[in-house]
C-alpha cells in the first residue's frame, strides 16, 4: 500500500513538471510568434541580411537590459529575443520545480542534486563568462 502511494506521488510530480515545461514553451513561442509576425510585417519585403558575416556583440538584443529596453519600445527583434529568454528560462523553471517536488517527497539526496544543477546554470548565466 505504501509502495503504491509512493508511486502515485512520483507520477504526480512528473506530470506537474510536464505542465511547467508545456506552459513555458507555449509562452515562449507565443512571444516569439508575436515578435516574428511584427518583424515580418515591418521588414518582410526587405532582402535578407548577410548572415554569412558575423556581427557579434553590440546589437540591443545581445544583453538583458537591451532586450527589456527594446521590448518596452515595441521593437520586433527584441520581442523575439524576449521569447528566447523565456525559452531559456523554461528548463531552469523545470529544475526549480523538480527541486520543490523532491522536497515535498522528502528526498534529500535529490534536493541536493537538483540544487547543484541549478547552481551550475545560474553561475553560467550570471558568472560573467561571456568574454
Amino acid at each position: 500500500m505504501k509502495q503504491i502511494k509512493k508511486l502515485l506521488v512520483d507520477r504526480d510530480i512528473e506530470l506537474f513538471i510536464g505542465r511547467v515545461l508545456r506552459t513555458g514553451v507555449i509562452t515562449a513561442c507565443s512571444i516569439a510568434l508575436l515578435g516574428g509576425v511584427l518583424y515580418l510585417a515591418q521588414q518582410g519585403a526587405a532582402s535578407v541580411p548577410d548572415y554569412a558575416v558575423f556581427k557579434g556583440k553590440g546589437a540591443e538584443y545581445t544583453s538583458f537590459n537591451g532586450i527589456f529596453r527594446g521590448v518596452a519600445s515595441g521593437s520586433a527583434t527584441e520581442i523575439i529575443q524576449l521569447g528566447v529568454l523565456v525559452m531559456l528560462a523554461t528548463p531552469l523553471l523545470r529544475i526549480f520545480f523538480s527541486g520543490i517536488a523532491f522536497a515535498i517527497e522528502k528526498d534529500k539526496l535529490y534536493v541536493m542534486i537538483t540544487t547543484l544543477v541549478l547552481g551550475i546554470i545560474l553561475f553560467s548565466m550570471f558568472g560573467g563568462l561571456k568574454v
Partner: protein, 277 residues
C-alpha cells in the same frame, strides 16, 4: 530572396529538423547546423545560436509528451545533468580559445563510431541486477510497453556519468544537444532500454543547452531573424515526433538514429577539413 520567403523556408526546414531530432533523441540542433551553414550560408556562430535554441525548444516540447507516457526517468536525468551542465559551462568557456575545425573533425569521428555501435547491437537489454550506485541513487525504474509495465536496472553509473561530462563539453562547444553521446552513455554504458535512453536524453538536452545558451546570447550568437522561425518550426516538429515515437518500435528508431548520426558526422568532418567553420 526577401525576409518573408527566407523565414518561411527556414520554418519548414526547422520543422523537419525538430521531427527527426525528436524521433532520434539527437535534438534538432545537429541537423540545423549543417542546414544553416551549407544550405543557407549562415555564419557558423549564428547556426550554433539557433541550434542551441532549437535543442531547448525540441527538448522542452517533446518532454511533455514523454513524461505523460511515463517513459522518461526523471531522477536519472537530474543526476546526469550535474555532468552535462558542468561540461556545457566548461565547453562554452573554452569555445573562445579552441580551433573549431579540429573539434568538428573529432566530433565527426566520434559520431560515426557511435552510429556503427548502434547498428551492431540489436538486443533490447533489460538488466535484472543493478549496480550498487544505481540503488543508492534510486535510478532503477520501470516504463510502459505494449506488454505492460517493464522493470529495468542500471549498470556502470560512473562510466555513464563520464560520457555525459564529455557530452556536455561538446554541447557547450558546438551548440548541439549531444543527444547521440547521451544516448550512447545510457544505452551502451548504463544498459538502459533504448526508449528510456532516448526520452531521458531528450529531456536533459534542454537543461544542458540552457547552461551555455545565455553565454552565447551575450556573445551575439542568437540572431532574432533566424531564431524565431527556427524555434517555432522545431517545436512543431518535436510535438509531431513525440506522438510518432509512442507508435514506433526501437529497431526502426535505431536505424533512423544511426543514419542521422552518420550524415551529420560526414558533414562535420567535411566542413572541418575545408575550414568552413
Amino acid at each position: 530572396m526577401n525576409i518573408m520567403i527566407f523565414s518561411l523556408i527556414l520554418l519548414v526546414s526547422a520543422y523537419m529538423a525538430g521531427l527527426l531530432g525528436s524521433l532520434t533523441g539527437l535534438g534538432g540542433g545537429v541537423i540545423l547546423i549543417p542546414l544553416l551553414t551549407l544550405v543557407f550560408h549562415v555564419d557558423i556562430r549564428y547556426a550554433i545560436g539557433a541550434a542551441l535554441l532549437a535543442s531547448i525548444a525540441n527538448s522542452s516540447g517533446a518532454a511533455t509528451s514523454y513524461i505523460k507516457e511515463g517513459i522518461t526517468n526523471i531522477r536519472l536525468g537530474m543526476f546526469l545533468e550535474i555532468a552535462t551542465t558542468t561540461g556545457a559551462v566548461a565547453g562554452a568557456l573554452i569555445a573562445v580559445f579552441m580551433p573549431v575545425n579540429a573539434i568538428a573533425i573529432l566530433l565527426g569521428v566520434v559520431l560515426i563510431f557511435s552510429a556503427a555501435m548502434t547498428i551492431r547491437k540489436k538486443h533490447e537489454h533489460l538488466e535484472q541486477t543493478g549496480s550498487k550506485l544505481s540503488y543508492l541513487l534510486k535510478l532503477n525504474s520501470s516504463y510502459p510497453t505494449a506488454n505492460g509495465e517493464v522493470n529495468y536496472k542500471l549498470k556502470n553509473v560512473g562510466g555513464g556519468f563520464s560520457i555525459m561530462l564529455l557530452a556536455g563539453v561538446l554541447s557547450g562547444l558546438l551548440g548541439i544537444g549531444s543527444g547521440a553521446l547521451k544516448v550512447l552513455a545510457m544505452d551502451s554504458a548504463m544498459r538502459i532500454p533504448f526508449k528510456v535512453s532516448t526520452t531521458t536524453s531528450n529531456f536533459m538536452i534542454g537543461v544542458t543547452a540552457a547552461a551555455s545558451a545565455v553565454v552565447y546570447l551575450q556573445r551575439g550568437y542568437i540572431e532574432p531573424g533566424i531564431a524565431f522561425p527556427v524555434v517555432l518550426g522545431v517545436l512543431g516538429g518535436a510535438f509531431t515526433g513525440a506522438r510518432l515515437l509512442t507508435m514506433m518500435n526501437p529497431q526502426t528508431l535505431r536505424i533512423i538514429f544511426s543514419v542521422a548520426i552518420a550524415f551529420v558526422a560526414i558533414e562535420m568532418i567535411y566542413n572541418g577539413f575545408n575550414h568552413q567553420f
